[in-house]
Structures are given as C-alpha cells and as structure tokens.
C-alpha cells in the first residue's frame, strides 16, 4: 500500500514537471489593488479580477489581489505588492491615480497599470493607462430605452457625480433623444457607490413618476435599482458587466465596459514584452472595449437591435461622435 502511494506520488510529480516545464520559461506574476468597493462588487473591480482570472487560464500567469478598505490603503497596498515582486501591478479605478504615480516614481523598474485614469503628458514611463469611452455603450442603451419606453419617460441613476459617471449620463441621454426626441430623462445621483437601499429608493421614486426604464451607472447602488425593477415589474439597464443574471426578466440590456478585456489585453502585451507604458490606451467600440450585453436579444426586438448595429457602425466610422460632457451633449441635441 505504502509502496503504491510512493510510486503514484513520483508519477504525479513527473507528470506535473513535464506538463509545466516546456510551456513557459518564465512564470509571470500579476496582481491588482481594488478600490474600496472590494473584489466582489458586481462591478468593475470584479470585472478586472475576471480579466486576471482569464489571464491565469489562458496565459498561465500567477495572480493575486489586495482589497482596499479606505482611501488611505491605496498607497500602502501598492507598496506591499511592489515589495512582493509582481511583474505588473494594477490599480483598479481612478481614485488610485495619485497613489500609483507616487509609487511608480520611486520604483521606476516596476510596471504598473491603472484603469479609468490618464495622466496625459505626465504619464510615468512605467505606468500603462486603460481608459474607456463609456459614453458609447451608454448611447446605445439610451437608444434602446428611447425606442422601447411606453411612457415617454426614462431614468438614470448615477453613483457619485464624477465626470467619469457623467460620460454615462450624457451618452445615455443623447441616445434616448436620438431615438425619441419627446422622451423625458429623469436623472439623479445617489452620492454613493455602495448604498443599495438608496439606489432602490431612487429607482422606486422614478418608477412612481411613471418612468418605465432606468439605467444605472452606480456600482453597488445599482443592485437596489435592479431590485426595484424586479419588484415593480419594470425595466432596468445594467452597467459594466452583463447584469441580466441579477434579474433575468427585468434587466433589458447592459452597457458593458469590458474592464476584463482591457486588463487581459494589457497583461498579454506585458507577457509578450510589449508593455505600453507612458501612455493611455483608449478602449471603445472599435476595439471591443465597450458594447451592449449579448443577452439584449432576449428582450429587445430584433428590429431595434439592427438599428443599434447600424449606430455602432456609424460611431466606429466617425459619422457620430457621442457626447461625453454636458457641453457636448447640449451641442449634440441642438
């Protein structure tokens, strides 16, 4: 019996050695620091972690994450991961902009990357930035909402009024107006990315005011928005990920921001020795960095989806520039 187990162990070891040996000469290590939302935020931290997991599966890199509980954790978390000797360290979210820059300056040999933040000309050579044109998918879901509303009234729930979230808001509003110039858009910010109860209250209020579709760009707050839609039998539109699984009968579509794709993309470039430091990479419809959820076809009629496809082509072709700020929006609707 004992002999057998020894033999088996030896065999297993050999097999592992053989399997692991030839695939990669060097095993890369990648880690990420979440923002205060944590790794299970149903939103972009989670999406970023999914990108890491895909990199682990497809590229064989070793991955880890470290959660931040408060603002003051960003810098020390960066330090900790830097000391641990990762090949690439991600900061998830623009809140980490300062922390990454300071750490990057002191550790010029270490590669960093950040989501949703660009330093412009001051980007350190060892930092790669991934930014998104969130207004584009918002525009598309706005168009769907404008076409599908029966009450001529739709809603938007934002997290905290950052320009980043305003990109969602104005892209969405432009889409609605294009589809249905008479449609009214109710817009409100929850001043939080975590308070689901507040999201629910705001959405309920909008439904009571006779809105029938509410789009949210508010992280964890959106859980409440979707719950309100489910209870009231109305439509909600998800964000960042395909959120249809949260309420299959009530999530109409989702404005996807493929943080996972961007993360995977940059990790792959790094493993191939083509890390793009010192600049920002823009993710949009053209490089599949954003889009609408594949489950949209469940509830959205094909005719409308065809129109959306046409819009996508126009945006890619540059015939339509989707507004991302109030100024651009005002010009757009004129």
């Amino acid at each position: 019996m004992k002999k057998l187990s020894v033999v088996l162990t030896v065999l297993a070891c050999c097999a592992m050695f053989l399997a692991a040996g030839p695939v990669s000469a060097k095993k890369f290590k990648v880690a990420m620091v979440t923002d205060v939302g944590g790794v299970n935020d149903q939103s972009f931290n989670q999406s970023a972690w999914e990108g890491h997991k895909r990199a682990k599966d497809e590229l064989g890199v070793k991955i880890a994450y470290k959660e931040s509980k408060q603002d003051a954790d960003y810098a020390p978390n960066m330090e900790t991961l830097t000391d641990a000797g990762y090949d690439l360290i991600w900061g998830i979210g623009f809140l980490m902009g300062d922390a990454i820059k300071n750490t990057a300056l002191i550790n010029p040999d270490q590669k960093y990357a950040i989501i949703d933040f660009a330093y412009g000309d001051e980007t350190p050579k060892n930092v790669g930035c991934a930014v998104f044109q969130e207004e584009q998918p918002s525009f598309l879901v706005g168009y769907i909402a404008g076409k599908m509303t029966k009450t001529n009234k739709v809603g938007f729930v934002g997290g905290i009024k950052f320009p980043l979230i305003e990109k969602f808001e104005y892209g969405y509003m432009a889409g609605v107006k294009l589809a249905n110039p008479d449609c009214e858009v109710l817009s409100q910010y929850a001043e939080s990315f975590t308070d689901a109860a507040k999201g629910k209250a705001i959405a309920n209020n909008m439904y009571q005011q006779n809105a029938d579709i509410v789009f949210h760009a508010s992280g964890g707050v959106g859980d409440g928005v979707i719950e309100a839609a489910k209870e009231k039998g109305k439509w909600a539109i998800g964000v960042d990920k395909d959120q249809n699984f949260l309420a299959p009968d009530n999530v109409l579509t989702s404005a996807m921001k493929r943080v996972d794709n961007a993360v995977f993309d940059m990790i792959r470039q790094m493993t191939e020795g083509k890390f793009k430091g010192g600049q920002a990479v823009v993710y949009n419809l053209s490089n599949d960095g954003v889009g609408i959820a594949p489950t949209s076809s469940k509830h959205v009629p094909k005719a409308i989806l065809d129109e959306v496809d046409a819009l996508v082509a126009k945006i890619k072709g540059g015939q339509i520039t989707v507004p991302a700020t109030k100024k651009e929006y005002d010009a757009f609707v004129k």
Partner: protein
C-alpha cells in the same frame, strides 16, 4: 521570588492587563480556527502577517501611520466613556476635523510654524462643536448621545462630500479636494521625496530610504501627547474630577453641586476635539486632501474597539491603537500572500473585543487553570 510571582499573578488575575492579553491570544486562536475551516494554513497566514509587519522598516512605519488616527479616535471614545458617555460620533467628528483641516490647509496662507497649529486648532474646534452639539442635545432635550451622534455622523459625511463639490475647494472631476499647502503638512520630506535627489536617496539608503517610502509624519507624537493630555485632564484637574464624578454617578455629582448638563457638553466637546485632531493629522500627514466618501471609513468606529481594548485609558489606547494598526495593516497582507480573505482579521479583532467584554469568562478560565496548577 515567590513574592514577585504572587504579585504578578495578582495583577494578571485581577487587573485588566491579563484579561486583555488572554483576549488577544484567544482572538488569534479563534481566527486560526476560522482559517483552518476556510482551508488555509493558519501558521502560514500568521507568519505572513508577522512578516508583513516586521520584515521591513517601512512596514513598521506603516503600522505606526495606521495606528496614529486610531489612537486618537480611541482616546476620543475613551474620554467620553470615562465620563459616562458613549461617543459613537468619533467617526463624524473625525470627518469634520479632516474637512476643516483640509480647508484651512488649502485656503489659509501662513508660515509653517503658524499654519500647522492653526489647522489643528480649527479642525479640533470644529469637531468640538460637532461633539458638543450631541452633548447639548442630550443635556437640553435628553436625547441619548448614541442616537444623536449616529445622526451627526451621516450629516458630517454628506457635509464633507458636499464641500468637495464646491468649485473653490474641490478639484472638479476628481471627487477630491485640492491638496493643502506645504506649510500645513506634518509629514517628513514629503516634497523632497519625489524630487530626483529624494528618489536617489531612497534608492541608495536601505533603511532610511525604505522608511521614507511610507508617508512618515509626526502624527504619532501628537497622539502620544494627547494620551497624556487625556490622563492629565481626567486625573489631575478639577474639570476631570467633575467629569469623572458625573460619569460614575450623576446623582451624586448633582448633589455635590456639579452642573451635570454642563459636564456632559464639556465632555463631548473634548471628546470631539480628540477625534477632530485625528482627522486633521490624517489630512496633514498622510492624505493632504479629502475625498468624497462612498461610505464611512471607520476611523471612529475602530476607535471604539481601540478604547475597549485599551481599557479606556490614555496609555491603553496608545498600545491598543498600535495593536489595531498592526492588525489592520499587517492583517491585510494575508490576502495576497496566502489568498485568505482579510475578513479573518476582522473576526480576530471582533473576538478579542468579545472576550474583553466577557471578563468573567476569562477569569473563570484563569482560575480553572490556577486550580489545576
């Protein structure tokens, strides 16, 4: 020798120290069990924590930096508790202190020697008002301070978030305020560190360079001074006598001619000042600005735990704050090192507090052991 041992036994069995030590040990034991159940090796995890605290000078420096605000919010809670009040509002007072310090640090232009004290003073005063308000509401309308301070916490949070939206104070589009003037900062070599000379120094000096990688600041000195101030006020002054009397027995204090209502307000004012100073020093030493808060950051709530572990004393809060800072900073390292969730550290802390709150149980354990031995 025997006398000494007897004495030690006495202190350990009857005093709060033994209770605390046992509670801390039990906390780690329970944490280990949780780790085991979750499928992680507790020894490995705890080694990761120890390495994460002690293996580099920078880490120890970070522990101190994490501990600094917790010591002060701990003092805030402890001061109130010693005078019979439960200040849940240290959180809000911290936020108000941070906000006012950030404003004073940004708007006011003064030489450093004046600017730093002015910022701290303004922040502490504002937080005093915040705490004193809860005291006033209790004294005047009999509303329990737990209720009013919880409300004031939220008001503080939203007030602070609103202030960041002001064009003159908040940097538009970042969700953060402008950074404070250099003359209002209490961290050491903050600007020089990111100059070329500074980066060179950091890269060439192993010990000091490593320490400088963390935002070293003088906050801890303030925290220790405040711990002394608390001890002094409570034990050496007539004010402290009044406050303690009211805390222990308001009926007797009233009988003795002490104005109980005024004492409640005074106590909350001082408690608020401690928490406000914590917020101010966090801004002036570490963050240099405030940011929109998505939720309470928990400095004040952690202060409650620090105060309890520290037996509501000044010196106790200092040690408990360092312990808590170490757990918070070092504890998070089990996440990337062994992949275990940091929640385990929260369980450890929670268990420590639970055991401290059950002194009888601990004494029973101690005495049972004694009988056998």
């Amino acid at each position: 020798m025997t006398l000494n041992r007897e004495y030690l036994k006495e202190v350990f069995l009857k005093g709060p120290l033994g209770l605390t030590v046992i509670s801390v040990v039990l906390g780690f034991v329970v944490g280990a069990v949780v780790l085991l159940i979750a499928g992680f090796n507790p020894i490995e995890a705890y080694m990761a924590i120890l390495r994460g605290i002690f293996s580099k000078p920078k880490y120890m420096s970070y522990v101190i930096i994490y501990a600094t605000p917790l010591i002060m919010t701990g003092l805030s809670v402890a001061f109130a508790l010693r005078t019979g009040l439960f200040n849940i509002g240290a959180e809000g007072q911290f936020i108000v202190g941070a906000m006012v310090a950030a404003m004073a640090g940004y708007f006011i232009h003064l030489p450093m020697l004046l600017h730093v004290p002015v910022c701290i003073l303004l922040a502490a005063s504002a937080a005093s008002v915040w705490g004193g308000l809860a005291g006033y509401i209790k004294a005047r309308f009999g509303v329990h301070e737990v209720i009013s301070t919880i409300m004031l916490n939220w008001i503080a949070l939203y007030l602070s978030n609103w202030s960041v939206t002001l064009k003159s104070f908040g940097k538009q589009g970042t969700g953060k305020s402008y950074v404070i003037q250099e003359t209002a900062r209490v961290d050491l070599f903050g600007q020089w560190k990111i100059t070329e000379a500074g980066i060179d120094f950091i890269r060439s000096h192993r010990f000091w360079g490593d320490i400088l990688k963390s935002p070293v600041n003088v906050g801890i000195i303030f925290a220790i001074i405040l711990a002394f101030v608390m001890w002094y006020i409570l034990n050496k002054t007539t004010l402290g006598y009044e406050l303690r009397a009211v805390g222990y027995n308001p009926h007797a204090a009233e009988y003795g001619g002490i104005n109980v209502n005024r004492s409640i307000i005074t106590s909350m004012v001082i408690s608020g000042a401690f928490a406000g100073t914590a917020g101010a020093l966090q801004v002036m030493g570490v963050s240099h600005r405030i940011a929109k808060l998505a939720a309470m950051e928990g400095y004040g709530f952690d202060g409650i735990a620090v105060s309890l572990i520290g037996n509501n004393t000044g010196i106790g809060s200092v040690f408990a704050g360092v312990l808590f800072g170490a757990l918070k900073y070092g504890g998070s390292k089990i996440q990337d090192a062994v992949g275990a969730p940091t929640e385990v550290i929260n369980i450890v802390v929670g268990t420590i507090i639970l055991f401290i709150a059950m002194p009888k149980l601990i004494r029973m354990i101690l005495q049972a052991r004694n009988k056998k031995g």
